[in-house]
């Protein structure tokens, strides 16, 4: 049994998906961020809608910005959010 990853959602992604945080055990064929996003889209209509346009999706793994090719591993903290708008 694999250890779960912690998924965090922010801003309109959180609003569309319906929760801010969840722990999930990823299937073994999900190896990178692109694979994770693909897998999440198949989890239900809320996910599919929130993750429809990947050009407005940013991802951080263990609190560092990463590209979609970045690997995901057990126990990672993976945050998914729109482009930032602070300042």
């Amino acid at each position: 049994m694999n250890a779960p990853v912690k998924l965090l959602y922010f801003a309109w992604l959180r609003a569309r998906i319906g929760h801010a945080e969840e722990q999930v055990v990823l299937p073994s064929d999900v190896r990178d961020v692109a694979g994770l996003l693909e897998w999440l889209r198949r989890r239900g209509p809320r996910y599919a809608e929130a993750l429809r346009d990947l050009s407005v999706i940013r991802v951080a793994v263990n609190q560092d910005y990463v590209g979609f090719e970045h690997p995901v591993r057990e126990s990672d903290e993976i945050a998914i959010f729109p482009p930032v708008t602070g300042g």
Partner: protein, 152 residues
């Protein structure tokens, strides 16, 4: 120094503290970001009654520390300060304070501009606005990416 907080801050006090006791400082530069009561998005100007800022705790502090370290690497700075608020804010409220102290004004002014430009594209904050049409998430602006890229 970095502070991410809900509370307001006293600009005069913060700027005074930045150079207090350090007589090598020749200049302090600052930028203060405020909540506007309008936003041009999608071509029309909408009234903004309030905004709510959310952030990614721990990553926010981490990114701000990286941005601050990068400024320190590029310019001879005596001190830097970034205060960024979160929570619900109304027009006129302060959102952010960036301040830099240096023996020379060029370094203080340049580093201050650098810090706010980088903060806008790298620090994980998101704004949602209360407008007459309802709540709306602020979209990232291409101009902000352009502003950051001039520091490469």
């Amino acid at each position: 120094m970095i502070r991410v907080q809900r509370e307001d801050f006293d600009v005069g006090h913060e700027l005074e503290q930045l150079a207090a006791g350090d007589h090598t400082v020749g200049g302090v530069a600052s930028f203060i970001g405020l909540v506007r009561d309008f936003n041009l998005q999608g071509g029309s100007a909408d009234r903004v009654a309030a905004m709510t800022l959310e952030h990614y705790p721990r990553m926010t502090e981490r990114k701000l520390a990286e941005i601050e370290a990068e400024a320190d690497r590029r310019w001879p700075l005596s001190a830097t300060l970034i205060i960024h608020r979160y929570g619900r804010l109304e027009p006129g409220d302060r959102i952010v304070l960036v301040a830099t102290a240096s023996p020379h004004r060029e370094a203080a002014l340049a580093a201050c501009g650098f810090l706010i430009d980088w903060l806008k594209t790298d620090a994980p904050f998101w704004k949602s606005e209360e407008t007459p049409a309802g709540e709306r998430w602020v979209e990232a602006r291409a101009e902000d990416d352009a502003a950051k890229s001039r520091w490469r």
